[in-house]
């Protein structure tokens, strides 16, 4: 996946603007890398050898960004963090190299400006899929529960599609309640990656004011079909 060329905000000795595209960072360049490692050490859980949720909490305090803020998620994406709530040393190195930050102030500034990273559509899509992936905690897990999905929608899409997100969240929660009352074949309890992806595409491609032209034979996911039905009903009333 192509990464946009980043203008170095900080004059950097590292010419690796593309480091996040490669799995392993290059051999450390002396001081910079050491500083990155030191930062890691300042948050790490010594027993685990990883930064754990507590460490992340501390980090958030330092950079003055809430841990539910979308920028923390973007940060995780930059790191390609695999496990939610934990950062490994490699991941940390990767992320900070990517941001070109090796001191706390630089890191703070970098994280603060992270939401600009998503301006390019390809980037956003990659991040969007990652956001879902990041919620999968178990080995063979393929779907994420509705509650988490709703939270994620709010974090990730609300700024760009506030109205749509509100409606979709409302629908998903309603569906969840209804499941108990009527026999609904749909699996509303959790959604998979394909469905998750379809939300973003749907918001991008379909105008909510023009639902008459929605064509359910167009291979939208079934949950989107049902969502549209629900929207139409809602509009009538």
């Amino acid at each position: 996946m192509p990464r946009p060329k980043r203008k170095a905000a900080v004059p950097t000795r590292s010419s690796d603007a593309d480091s996040s595209a490669r799995p392993e960072p290059k051999k450390p360049r002396g001081n910079q890398f050491n500083r990155i490692d030191q930062l890691f050490e300042s948050y790490v859980n010594k027993t685990l050898g990883l930064i754990d949720p507590e460490g992340i909490e501390a980090l958030c305090n330092d950079v003055n960004v809430n841990h539910t803020d979308v920028r923390m998620l973007i940060f995780a994406w930059k790191m390609k963090a695999e496990k939610q709530g934990y950062f490994s040393k490699d991941e940390w190195r990767r992320g900070l190299k990517c941001l070109g930050a090796d001191t706390r102030p630089k890191l703070k500034k970098a994280i603060e400006g992270l939401d600009k990273e998503l301006k390019v559509p390809e980037c956003f899509e990659d991040f969007y899929s990652y956001a879902f992936q990041y919620c999968l905690t178990e080995e063979k897990q393929r779907s994420v529960d509705i509650e988490t999905i709703c939270e994620l929608l709010n974090i990730v899409l609300k700024s760009e599609f506030p109205n749509q997100v509100n409606l979709l969240v409302e629908y998903l929660k309603v569906g969840k309640q209804l499941f108990k009352l009527i026999y609904v074949q749909n699996d509303y309890r959790a959604l998979n990656m394909d469905q998750w992806r379809s939300f973003y595409r749907f918001f991008k491609e379909v105008d909510f004011h023009d639902l008459e032209n929605y064509d359910s034979s167009q291979a939208w996911t079934v949950i989107i079909d049902n969502f549209v039905e629900w929207l139409k009903e809602k509009e009538k009333n």
């Binding site: 393929r142 079934v222 079909d225």
Partner: protein
């Protein structure tokens, strides 16, 4: 008039000298002119033969012919002077004079004739015209003969109209198209036709001659002077007549009248018009009488198409068919109305709540409906294939409106195989089964039928209540032919199990040395998978049975290693010997559950529903039904219930009914007969069918994607539907869900760019 002496003719050699002299030509012409006049005046007696007929000496045969003919008709001819005269004129290139003279003379004569015709009064007009025409033809013939040499040489070379044709043209222009005659002729002819249409007898021979005259004058004359007007007047006539009929007749009568008129016109043409007019006049009649009123006729209240269909009016329907066939879209209108009506009738039938109470009657009515319309199409519509197809598609449409049709058809078959076909001959059995197959073909949800059929077949086999093994097998063969081996392999397995079980029982009893007092046991060993499985929790069998059951189990497992047996207590039957209050003995035929319940009363006088449930372990819903059948059915109430209500509550108490009586020694209380499912059961079966369909749909999707690699959504849906249509019609939404499920399990993936495209992941 000279006497008709036979004369011998001699050809004289050409002796005359050829003289080129204008005055000679003039003189010669005068002679000819006179001759022509005389011909027209029927007064050829004053002429010599040679004056009348001129021929060159060559060719000789022409001369001989003419001489011979003249001898027949013109005995007063004397010499050949005139013949040579004409020949000379032509030879010296005075043909022009001859020809123009002929035209002038003939024209002036025709003018006279024309006037005489014009002055004819009333009826005589046509007769006079006819007579004069006949005369003209005769004269023309003679003149042509006289001038035959000119006809053969001068006329072709100078491109003039030959004599005969000239004569016809002049007749046409001078006589027929005279200002007074033209219109009068037309009007007279048309009036005669009108009178004939109104029932009068007219002079057909005269008509025929006149019409033939017009045709002889040329097709365009016939068409312009007569046919064109004939058609337009006929159109008006039939337009008015049809309007009158429509207002006064019912549909059947109208059609009869239309048919009659049509036949009349055809007959008219054959008698006195040109055959090519037939199609034109029939088109007029068809248009005015049928085409213009098609919809009015078909929808006529109390007598239209629908009424005819309802009342099986084969003759009227046949007439409608043959008449409407003649006009464009005629049959389409009939077919569409019939189709709509059949669909409507069928829809009412399948949606009527009353009908739904009795599945056998429901199906019988469907069959009757099909028979009725088959007969109509056969008797009245000449087995027209498009009508057959329309009927089939109508049936397919409404049969599938009722989701329980598959179940009902299976129940119908069950009824027939259980008792309906008792004593019926083999051929007739085949007929009934074939009709059932026909209905089966209309079903979209054949897999639902299969499910029910299996259940009902199982019950029939296990209760031994099928009237004919052959009939059962015959139907299976038909199903196999229709749906393939897969459909029927399990059904055949069921038959095999029955046979095997029989052999097993033989073996079992042979191996048991001491039967003693234990109840006699008959076991059917069913292969799981072939038989419709219903989860059957073990109920507690009465102790009297446990012994022999164990013996059987031991015997069977001894001879069949590695198998597992589980008693299907919801499917068995038992015969109990019961003695009631006054010593009356009866043999009760009951289900296994009922047996368990009844046996409890050997040791207890009263039991509540709850107590019975605990003792027997029978599931509550089944138990309630069981108790109802034992206590609440008149004539079969071997138990007494308090309170006496029909519903079973947990605290209701049951007593052995000492006072039970029945006319029969053997009393059948079993509830193992196949019957129409209750609503909850129906829902359950449907759910199971839906569940079964999911893997079939997925298998189809995978098969298709494996071979196509990439395919877009709409095409997948179409292909899947096609692959599964012999079993059921898959819901596109369900297909979509299955695709999503396959995506989740990484069998397929969605294309990154084109959301509608799927890719098979190896």
């Amino acid at each position: 008039m000279s006497s008709q002496k036979k004369r011998t003719f001699q050809i004289e050699a050409f002796k005359h000298r050829v003289v080129v002299d204008p005055k000679y030509a003039e003189k010669t012409w005068k002679v000819l002119e006179h001759a022509i006049h005389e011909i027209y005046n029927h007064n050829a007696s004053g002429l010599s033969f040679e004056e009348l007929y001129s021929h060159s000496p060559l060719p000789l045969d022409g001369v001989w012919n003419t001489l011979f003919r003249i001898h027949q008709f013109m005995p007063w001819c004397k010499n050949s002077e005139v013949a040579w005269n004409a020949y000379n004129m032509v030879l010296h290139k005075f043909g022009e004079k001859l020809y123009s003279g002929l035209v002038t003379t003939m024209t002036s004569h025709l003018k006279e004739i024309s006037q005489s015709i014009e002055s004819a009064q009333g009826e005589i007009f046509l007769e006079e015209l006819n007579r004069k025409w006949i005369d003209h033809n005769k004269a023309l013939q003679m003149i042509r003969d006289i001038l035959m040499y000119m006809d053969r040489t001068f006329i072709p070379s100078s491109h003039k109209t030959p004599v005969h044709e000239l004569g016809l043209n002049l007749w046409r222009d001078v006589v027929i198209h005279s200002s007074k005659t033209q219109a009068r002729l037309r009007d007279t002819l048309l009036e005669l036709v009108l009178r004939e249409r109104n029932g009068e007898v007219i002079n057909r021979g005269l008509m025929r001659n006149i019409i033939k005259m017009l045709m002889d004058l040329g097709l365009s004359v016939y068409q312009e002077d007569f046919e064109k007007h004939f058609l337009s007047v006929s159109a008006n006539f039939y337009c008015l007549e049809s309007q009158k009929f429509i207002e006064t007749c019912d549909c059947g009568d109208y059609l009869k009248k239309a048919e009659r008129r049509l036949n009349e016109e055809i007959e008219r043409v054959s008698h006195y018009l040109d055959p090519r007019s037939e199609i034109k006049i029939t088109n007029v009649v068809e248009k005015e009488m049928i085409d213009s009123h098609m919809h009015t006729l078909v929808h006529m209240e109390n007598s239209g198409l629908v009424n005819m269909l309802v009342d099986d009016k084969y003759e009227d329907l046949g007439r409608m068919y043959s008449l409407f066939r003649r006009v464009p879209t005629g049959l389409t209108v009939v077919k569409d109305v019939m189709t709509a009506f059949v669909r409507d009738t069928g829809k009412q039938l399948v949606m009527d709540p009353e009908r739904l109470r009795d599945p056998v009657d429901f199906v019988q009515r469907l069959l009757d409906l099909k028979d009725k319309y088959d007969k109509i199409i056969n008797m009245s519509f000449t087995n027209d294939k498009t009508f057959q197809n329309a009927l089939n598609s109508s049936f397919e449409h409404f049969i599938n409106l009722n989701a329980r049709s598959p179940e009902f058809i299976s129940l119908f078959v069950d009824d027939k195989l259980r008792r309906g076909l008792k004593g019926v001959g083999e051929e007739d059995v085949e007929i009934v089964l074939d009709k059932v197959m026909m209905l089966f073909r209309y079903l979209q949800e054949k897999d639902v039928f299969e499910k029910y059929y299996k259940q009902h077949l199982a019950k029939r086999l296990l209760s031994g209540k099928t009237i004919s093994d052959d009939a059962e097998r015959s139907l299976i063969v038909k199903l196999k032919t229709e749906c393939g081996y897969q459909f029927t392999s399990k059904l055949e397995g069921m038959f095999t199990d029955m046979k095997t079980s029989y052999d097993t029982m033989q073996g079992f009893y042979a191996s048991q040395s001491d039967v003693g007092d234990s109840p006699s046991l008959v076991v059917h060993v069913l292969t799981t998978g072939s038989w419709p499985t219903q989860p059957s929790p073990q109920c507690n069998l009465p102790s009297e049975l446990l012994g022999v059951c164990e013996k059987f189990r031991a015997y069977y497992l001894g001879t069949h290693n590695g198998r597992r047996l589980s008693w299907q207590t919801n499917m068995g039957t038992a015969d109990l010997k019961a003695t009631f209050g006054k010593g009356q003995k009866h043999e009760l035929n009951v289900s296994t559950y009922q047996m368990c319940v009844l046996m409890l009363f050997n040791n207890a006088d009263r039991l509540t529903c709850k107590e019975i449930e605990q003792a027997t372990g029978i599931p509550l819903l089944d138990l309630k039904r069981c108790l109802q059948s034992l206590a609440c059915v008149k004539g079969k109430n071997v138990l007494r219930k308090e309170p006496m209500s029909k519903d079973i509550a947990e605290d209701d108490t049951f007593f052995f009914n000492d006072k039970f009586t029945s006319k029969f020694f053997k009393v059948k209380i079993g509830t193992v007969v196949a019957q129409r499912e209750s609503e909850p059961e129906n829902l359950e079966t449907r759910q199971r069918v839906e569940e079964d369909r999911k893997p079939q749909i997925e298998a189809a999707i995978v098969r298709i994607m494996k071979s196509r690699r990439t395919l877009d959504h709409n095409n997948i849906v179409a292909e899947v539907t096609k692959q599964l249509q012999s079993r059921f019609l898959p819901n596109p939404v369900v297909i979509k869900k299955r695709i999503e499920s396959l995506i989740e399990r990484e069998f397929l993936e969605r294309d990154r760019v084109d959301r509608k495209l799927y890719r098979y992941l190896a």
